[in-house]
Symmetry: C2
Subunit: 320 residues, 2 copies
């Protein structure tokens, strides 16, 4: 097995590229694919400040590492979800990476700052854990980005993630979600721009990237996610990828180029009635926003400082 | 396990309906679902003559039986594909059913009438067997319907089939196929109307229907289809259906109600340049139609009678 570029011994085969790569040229491939995604979808302009949502997993740490190496001005944001030992260990991986790279990690703790954890929030709101978690993350990433003056939030969604989400959305023909499933959501209506620079890399590649780069990350799936539908969709697509390499790529990028625009009108209709949540100011179409309703149901609270002072202090920050 | 309707002992559970049925009410359910599909999509009007494409498998024989019981004026059409013993046995099941029901079966034999079989056609045309087979079937069903003065061709595609085809089409975002994947293709441009009255029944139900009705059918999958992509798509959707009953139904019917129209323009564009094939008269966008090209490559011929006489004799018919 030889590297496609230099013919030296290869360390990884990527079937959808029908090619093998040595360590050096595999890292170059990853950087090139991320740079290509950023350029092709106008994700980040030179000089913009990027907040990377960091979970301590392979994708978000690979993303942060790649963005730093590509010269982007990035800080990380870690959100403690209160999932016991899993959260503690994830947090450690995120902090260790930030320390090693001399990068700034913003930290928010759901139980400490907001008085609830994912399990409690899910139970109170009668949502599955992944739903309560996703809602909390989206809200707090957006808010931290706007409060911190960042131009853009970057998340570690990779090609497998996006293909699986797309599969879930087409299985139910959630047309408004389909209209919104793009690698760049422009900032508007009180939302920051959100980008997914890893859409051209599969999760096997982000894992290999971390191994080659010596980045330690939490390997286990989140214990609350086990058996969720998203993982079932991944399994289904993986089975197809085995017999037809490149299927996931074609599914996702074919959607973007030939179908996505047909659903945009549904997403736009959904955002017409946005107004600021009276409680937290986040854009919402309901009386109060879904996050504030979740916090209220879970018996949580907004950070105490917010209620005491009009100039809210920045969240706690680990400086290297 | 009790019947939802009469509370008698049930013989089948249908998880996506969240219900069990006794034999009598299961048959009624099947008839009702077919009648509902026919009505909802305007498939067949009273008095129209229907040609049912009959393979000898569970779906097409169940369909023919159901259409007869619903009072439709139907003949069957059996196409011998030259797949050795598999074709011989399929043929026998189709003939036995026709005899038992006192129904008319039109018969065409690919090797005898056209001088090639599916394996040879596939090899010559460098297509996978299912592609050469599908192309031949579509052409010959259309032609037999037009020649025989039928108003509509009915095929036994069930919900599993349609969901799997849809999955294949969205995986590659074949937008022109998506625009054409409807349970009724109106007759136009030299094509007869084509309908799929089984779209509301799964393949487990059509199999159970045949068992309950005492209809013998060929149980094995076609040996040429083993390992094809379509079966892989079925496996993937089956895995999802197990954890989320109703997924296939929602996928297919959600597509029809919320997405299909968005792709219609692509299908329409594709049919703008149709003209009659100079060799056989079938509508085509190319110089000669795909079927005539397949026949030529496979070293086959059109039925001798066609070339000798302007009034082509009807294909051979088994009369009960």
């Amino acid at each position: 097995m030889r590297c496609r570029v230099c013919r030296g011994p290869a360390i990884i085969d990527i079937r959808r590229h029908n090619a093998n790569f040595c360590a050096e040229h595999f890292l170059k491939l990853c950087r090139d694919q991320v740079a290509k995604a950023i350029g092709e979808f106008d994700m980040i302009s030179p000089g913009e400040r990027v907040l990377v949502a960091v979970s301590g997993g392979k994708d978000s740490l690979a993303l942060w590492d790649l963005l730093l190496d590509l010269g982007h001005d990035t800080d990380g944001l870690y959100l403690g979800l209160g999932i016991g030992d899993y959260s503690d260990r994830s947090h450690r991986y995120a902090r260790d990476f930030a320390d090693r790279r001399g990068a700034k990690l913003v930290e928010i703790d759901l139980p400490g700052d907001y008085g609830y954890d994912v399990a409690g929030g899910a139970k109170a709101a009668r949502r599955v854990p992944c739903s309560a978690c996703g809602l909390s993350k989206r809200h707090l990433f957006d808010r931290a980005a706007l409060d911190g003056g960042y131009d853009v939030v970057a998340t570690g969604h990779n090609l497998d993630d996006e293909a699986a989400v797309l599969f879930g959305n087409v299985l139910r023909w959630h047309t408004e979600y389909l209209g919104r499933q793009v690698p760049v959501l422009p900032g508007a209506n009180g939302f920051p721009r959100k980008v997914k620079p890893l859409v051209r890399l599969g999760e096997r590649e982000t894992a290999a990237y971390c191994v080659v780069r010596g980045i330690d990350y939490i390997v286990e799936e989140c214990p609350m996610a086990l058996g969720n539908k998203h993982l079932g969709y991944k399994d289904a697509l993986n089975a197809i990828e085995v017999t037809s390499p490149g299927s996931k790529h074609d599914f996702y990028f074919g959607f973007l180029s030939r179908a996505s625009a047909r659903f945009r009108v549904d997403a736009a209709a959904d955002s017409q009635d946005l107004h600021p949540c009276p409680s937290c100011g986040a854009p919402t179409t309901a009386e109060s926003c879904a996050f504030c309703r979740l916090v209220a149901r879970a018996g949580g609270h907004h950070p105490v400082a917010v209620e005491l002072s009009p100039t809210r202090p920045a969240p706690s920050v680990t400086r290297p």
